[in-house]
């Protein structure tokens, strides 16, 4: 073993290079293609054309709002659930974890057809009959799709702190359960929630199946439509979506590694010890 690891790991490097090429070559090709809208020169014309389109801005706005609502609703459902399960029903955790994975097992098509049947014209709660109702269904669909990621992120965040003892400490100081959740539990798993939020955002922003079957004017169907109608703009959109995902990842990482009392991009200066007395 020791001998192997001392040799330059040529094979590993080759595999890594092959993997990187597999990923980078199409990316570079797409990027290159997206710059060639104006014949004979490299330009950002395709990007400009995308940004000048009113449809682009309106679908992006719609999807952003829907995704943010999905994040808020998801966090409101997942955080108290994960908290309660860890605090009071620890033996149920494997079951809840399994349930949280269901959205990965059940295809979104099944989910959305279920919705349409349940909340369609003849149901007692005909959500699909109105614009608002359909939007609500869309947000709920996004929440369901993001639950596996949100639950995992939040549950991991809770594993990192001793929530049972922190809860007891807060209660012995007079805090009610809601206050404990708001002032002690929530702030301590904020970075976990933020990671879950970025994942939710990147899933729901480009979501296609549920969105198009509910016929919503959102980003996912728009991307597909563009792909059918144009050549260069979809490449530009793909590159932008890719860049956006990476920005999300970086922000997630920043939030996840931040310690209390630090700003997001603070340089870790040697800590200064203040003089006594407050």
């Amino acid at each position: 073993m020791a001998e192997v690891s001392r040799r330059p790991p040529l094979l590993s490097i080759l595999i890594a290079l092959a993997g990187a090429a597999f990923f980078l070559v199409p990316l570079i090709a797409t990027f290159n293609f997206s710059l060639r809208m104006t014949r004979g020169e490299l330009s950002f014309a395709a990007y400009r054309s995308v940004f000048e389109s009113d449809t682009f801005l309106s679908v992006l706005g719609f999807s952003t709002v829907a995704s943010l609502m999905a994040i808020a609703l998801g966090a409101l459902i997942v955080v108290p659930t994960a908290y309660w399960v860890r605090l009071r029903l620890p033996h149920m955790r494997p079951l809840i974890e399994f349930l949280s994975l269901m959205p990965l097992i059940i295809p979104p098509v099944v989910l959305v057809f279920g919705y349409v049947r349940l909340y369609g014209t003849s149901s007692i709660l005909p959500l699909t009959m109105t614009e608002t109702g359909t939007n609500i269904l869309l947000v709920i669909g996004y929440v369901v799709l993001s639950v596996p990621y949100m639950y995992r992120a939040v549950d991991n965040g809770m594993a990192a702190i001793d929530i049972a003892t922190l809860t007891e400490a807060a209660e012995s100081l007079g805090a009610s359960r809601p206050r404990t959740i708001a002032f002690v539990i929530f702030p301590n798993i904020r970075s976990a929630i933020v990671s879950g939020a970025f994942l939710t955002f990147s899933i729901s922003l480009g979501e296609f199946v549920i969105t198009s079957l509910l016929n919503r004017p959102a980003f996912g169907p728009y991307l597909v439509q563009m792909g059918q109608d144009y050549a260069y703009q979809p490449a530009a959109l793909a590159i932008m979506a890719f860049a956006f995902t990476w920005v999300c990842m970086v922000l997630m990482e920043l939030f996840a590694t931040r310690r209390p009392g630090q700003r997001l991009l603070q340089w870790r200066a040697p800590r200064t010890v203040e003089k006594a007395k407050s």
Binding site: N188, R259, P260, S278
Partner: protein
């Protein structure tokens, strides 16, 4: 009137009864320790006082009021945990202020009280640090200040020193006792360390298998244990199987000793006799009345103490003697006499297992 009263407390988890018929009355300002081996139910009793567990039977009164059914958040009881349990997202100052904010005090009142508490634990200069920037000992002092800030009726500490290293443990132990005296707050302290319990408590409750085996001052517990478990758990002990030989005499170690009372027991009843290592000597001291013959097995020099193992009546007996400049180390194999006084003989009701 006692301030904290536990009467007939029982607690079961499913079929597993972990606290049985627990009675205790704690006086105002008293410092009481629960001492016992791991798993004997100390934490469970403490958590019932705090309100984190509900007794299966019995009542808990604080200051005359029945709090058995009151939720923890309304009991006004300060709690310190073994693992500190500081809020990681809050600075030292905000941790200490937490209970005051919940109580709805004004900003000025909170600032004043926080400063006062940080002075008490001598950590005013670290007010803006976060828990992860503090040592274990500092964190536990902050936890103590946080628990005391809202002026609770009672202070409960669950093995607060167990996670700390030896030196800090002793100094923080003394700090806890000093602060407790200064504030005059009624305190219950849980530990499995007998030295800790004996050194800081007004009274000690020795717990065994969910029961209070003996309740008494540290001196009573150590000098006059009433059960074999207490005698063995609190301090080191040499035990002998004994039996009642007459109205005032007991037989053990192959001899019969008179002047040892065991009222009301018939001759032949088996008992246990216990002798502390420090009560025994290989030299006859003034006051030593009784002795048993033995043979030195080995001895070691421990600085202030000389420790010898002596074979007496077929069993090995530990002896601790103060070291003096003229003391000689007992020689292995040498015949000797083991001396003690009548008062040193602890007669315990149970037969050794």
């Amino acid at each position: 009137m006692s301030f904290l009263t536990l009467s007939g407390i029982n607690k079961s988890f499913g079929a597993n009864t972990v606290v049985r018929d627990f009675d205790l009355a704690v006086e105002p300002g008293e410092f009481v320790s629960f001492l016992g081996p791991s798993g004997c139910g100390k934490t469970t009793v403490l958590r019932m006082i705090a309100g984190f567990e509900t007794p299966s039977g019995g009542t808990i009164r604080v200051g005359g009021a029945d709090v058995t059914a009151l939720p923890a958040s309304r009991r006004k009881i300060g709690m310190v945990f073994q693992a500190y349990a500081l809020f990681p997202n809050m600075s030292v100052r905000d941790n200490v202020a937490f209970g005051l904010r919940i109580a709805g005090m004004t900003r000025a009142q909170i600032d004043a009280r926080v400063a006062e508490m940080l002075d008490l634990i001598a950590l005013g200069h670290l007010a803006d640090r976060y828990p992860y920037q503090l040592s274990g000992g500092q964190q536990q002092r902050v936890a103590l200040a946080r628990a005391l800030a809202p002026r609770p009726n009672l202070l409960l500490l669950d093995e607060p020193l167990s996670a700390l290293d030896a030196q800090i443990r002793t100094s923080l132990r003394d700090d806890i006792r000093r602060i407790q005296r200064e504030l005059g707050i009624t305190t219950v302290f849980v530990t499995h360390d007998q030295e800790e319990a004996l050194s800081i408590s007004d009274r000690v409750v020795v717990m065994y298998k969910g029961r209070a085996d003996q309740i008494g001052t540290p001196a009573q517990i150590y000098n006059h244990p009433t059960t074999r478990f207490v005698a063995g758990f609190v301090g080191k002990l040499n035990t002998f199987d004994a039996r009642v030989a007459g109205a005032d005499s007991l037989a053990f170690g192959g001899q019969e000793f008179s002047g040892l009372r065991r009222a009301g027991l018939n001759a032949g009843v088996p008992l246990t006799v216990a002798l502390r290592p420090e009560a025994l000597s290989l030299h006859r001291r003034p006051g030593d009345e009784l002795s048993l013959p033995g043979r030195v097995q080995h001895s070691s020099f421990l600085g202030s103490v000389i420790r010898a193992q002596v074979e007496v009546a077929g069993q090995s007996v530990s002896i601790d003697m103060f070291n003096r400049a003229d003391a000689k180390l007992p020689v292995a194999g040498a015949p000797t006499e083991v001396w003690f006084t009548r008062d040193d003989v602890l007669v315990l009701p149970e037969v050794s297992p």
